[in-house]
Subunit: 456 residues, 2 copies
């Protein structure tokens, strides 16, 4: 089946790429206060582009944090309504020195586009917009009704959009959500993601003396918050990756035997994954679980940094007054952030060494979720993907968290179609993030076909 | 006994203080490469001042790092020769936000002078220079021969001066060293320090994956260097402060019963120390040892910071590729830095969790030392201190490390007189470092009297 919209996308691809690069040059790092203006500017640019391609009712919705962008096109009478979601905010780019090209100066190399946000999620969000442009430009209409909702706080917990969705506004009435913030399981293998881990992101602050002290004068008498943090962190997870917080695993639901069997049939080579994706001497994690089970269906605990103290070059002989560990846990169904945080907090307080004060803060959280797959939108997606990629779709989960997917289900009753085109080695949240240029192009084509299939 | 030099010092005190402030405005932070020029400038200022007051053979001696400053006055025939040592380099000022006045803008408050380096060691070093000025200005001569040797790398291990001293240059020929880089045990209580801990300052680098990874995607499979560092650090020292490195305590010599008895008679209130000096909920450290034993006569291990990873505000869901812990150990007689580092390194390698690579680096080190007290210079010091302070001198040790004192003994055969006038709450190496203004004045007077006593 030919599609003039696909043809349009193909012909206009150089321009699409040029526009995406302009978007990637905006350093819309949501977690850093100094980039607040950049986040707002990204929202404005996207709103202008949605207007330009023919979407209607375009507007910027202010929140307590970075704004939402809304647009719709609702003239496909009798057809279903899609809610296309994406986020324009990005992770911080540090460590800067490890980027081969500057994070906010997009560069094409070896068939990839390198930039912070290339795949997560500006590039994938932009696929939606360019698919809509292609359909509107060639047909004058869309095959289904479409609402677009973009946020700027996905990387910092998405409070603004969560509150907005929870308020169940009439303008979010839809039949399904389309989310492109995931990846193909392997290059060329069409993939739908049907499960996400939730998370709690926390700060664990340990305070010892009232001020920094000389480690010669006071070493042996003053509590050292970094040593205390080490004892607490070592007490939270053993060296095999088993989390030691009492009750932490109580609500974990194992995947069904059928799902596990399907995972075993996926093209996954653990040694290749270890060497090329992770690049570590050895993989770690709970014994008795495969890598896919450990990253998709088991909770984990990670430490992201321990600010405080002396971090300069050379030596400073100080006992710092405080240390702050940034600690997150990924959650799986049926765990809840509320219960996980409560268990974690009380255990930290219990095991904190004598002499220090601890304070445990929740920075943000998201519910884990599983997506029902037996619905017409998932079926439409598999047909569309087969047309574009020539292969049967595989169903996977992701170890990451997209809390809005749970919110769409819980508050709006929407099933999500998580159709993403990243690759496992795209360096999400890391230096040298990239998006495969072919996947950007086929992604736009896949979204066009998907919306056409939904309209059939 | 009156002294016209003391009178001169008293009359000129406002100018001395003014000059010290100028010296404190130079941010001569030896560990930070960006302050290399400031260190050299401080050396030049001091050399010029030594010339101005009448010292001879003044020169700057370049080293591989920051330069030494040398000067002498050798016309007191038949009299002993003093080697007056001090350092013009200072610790980094961070955390800057905790300073009540900027670290390099000296401010007088409540009878104290606040600035980085006020007491450690610019203020105390400057006492020597102002004592020499007072003696030369009033008498035209010094009561003893004096060599001055100043360094700019005390806070980073003192490699330059160590190499210079080890070469046993003829110009360092002397009978004793005068070192003012210590403190009074209590306000108004004249104190000589007769023991110092040594140290090894190290970096412990842990590497996991080849690049930073998304903690959602890879959490549960990729090694987390911060978690590994926590396990290693928790394995080095237990929660009671006992170091777990096998063999670490083998060479520790206990103080004599007489020394321990003398320490017990010192005016020390542990609860007052806990509340006012340390300001922690509880003191920590090895059971069965008093605070003075723990800080003066027992080895300790401290963590100063764990750079790497995400340290910004908010959240970044990353598994960092590496973590670096800055770890130091204080050593007591008869431990040696060489053996302590070897034991530490091999133990870290042994306990490192699977999946990560560890590298242990020695940044700098210093030998512990005990000073013989039965010599004429110590006796002269106690007489001088009695004249100025009206009290018997107490003999204490310090938990800190002044490696040059060991070098003076080992290479030049010099006993050191460690006569310092800091106070326990002077915030050495911490925000709001200060020097008591009265102690600065009485310190100059004490040095004048001491040199006069040595010449009698």
């Amino acid at each position: 089946m030919s599609s003039s919209a696909v043809e349009y996308a193909h012909q206009n691809h150089p321009r699409f790429l040029h526009e995406l690069k302009a978007l990637l040059r905006i350093p819309s790092v949501s977690t850093l206060p100094e980039h607040k203006g950049d986040c707002h500017f990204a929202a404005e640019v996207l709103a202008a582009e949605l207007s330009r391609i023919g979407m209607e009712n375009v507007r910027i919705i202010e929140t307590g944090g970075h704004p939402l962008v809304y647009a719709d096109w609702l003239h496909a009478e009798g057809k279903p309504t899609a809610l296309a979601y994406g986020h324009y905010d990005v992770q911080p780019p540090d460590p800067l020195e490890e980027w081969l090209s500057p994070p906010f100066e997009p560069e094409e190399r070896d068939g990839n586009l390198y930039a912070r946000g290339a795949v997560d999620d500006k590039g994938q969000m932009y696929m939606h917009i360019k698919a809509l442009e292609s359909l509107l430009a060639t047909n004058g209409v869309l095959p289904v009704n479409v609402r677009v909702l973009l946020e700027g706080e996905e990387e910092v917990g998405g409070e603004g959009i969560a509150a907005y969705v929870a308020s169940k506004p009439a303008e979010l009435k839809a039949d399904f959500a389309l989310v492109s913030d995931t990846e193909l399981f392997a290059p060329g293998l069409p993939t739908l993601c049907v499960g996400l881990r939730g998370m709690i992101y926390t700060e664990l602050e340990v305070r010892g003396a009232k001020t920094d002290l000389h480690s010669g004068m006071y070493g042996g008498a003053a509590p050292n918050p970094f040593v205390a943090v080490a004892h607490i962190l070592a007490g939270l997870k053993d060296e095999q990756g088993h989390i030691l917080i009492p009750g932490f695993y109580d609500d974990v639901i194992s995947p069904s035997p059928e799902e596990l069997a399907a995972w075993r049939s996926l093209p996954f080579d653990e040694e290749h994954y270890r060497v090329t994706e992770v690049g570590a001497r050895q993989l770690t994690g709970e014994r008795g679980y495969s890598v896919l089970e450990r990253t998709w269906a088991r909770p984990t605990l990670d430490v992201h940094g321990i600010p405080g103290g002396f971090t300069g070059a050379g030596a400073k002989t100080v006992i710092p007054a405080k240390a702050v560990a940034k600690v997150s846990m990924r959650l799986v169904p049926d765990m809840t952030p509320t219960r996980a945080f409560a268990l974690y907090k009380s255990y930290v307080e219990e095991i904190a060494p004598a002499g220090v004060d601890v304070e445990v803060r929740l920075i943000h959280s998201g519910e884990p979720c599983l997506i029902p797959v037996d619905n017409p939108y998932i079926r439409a997606a598999t047909r569309a993907l087969h047309e574009v990629w020539g292969k049967e779709t595989v169903f996977i989960r992701s170890g990451g968290s997209i809390p809005i997917v749970g919110d769409f289900a819980r508050h709006l009753g929407l099933p999500s179609v998580m159709m993403g085109f990243g690759l496992p080695d795209d360096n999400l949240h890391a230096p040298n993030e990239k998006f495969n240029l072919k996947n950007f192009e086929l992604g736009i084509e896949s979204v066009i076909r998907f919306l056409e299939e939904c309209g059939n």
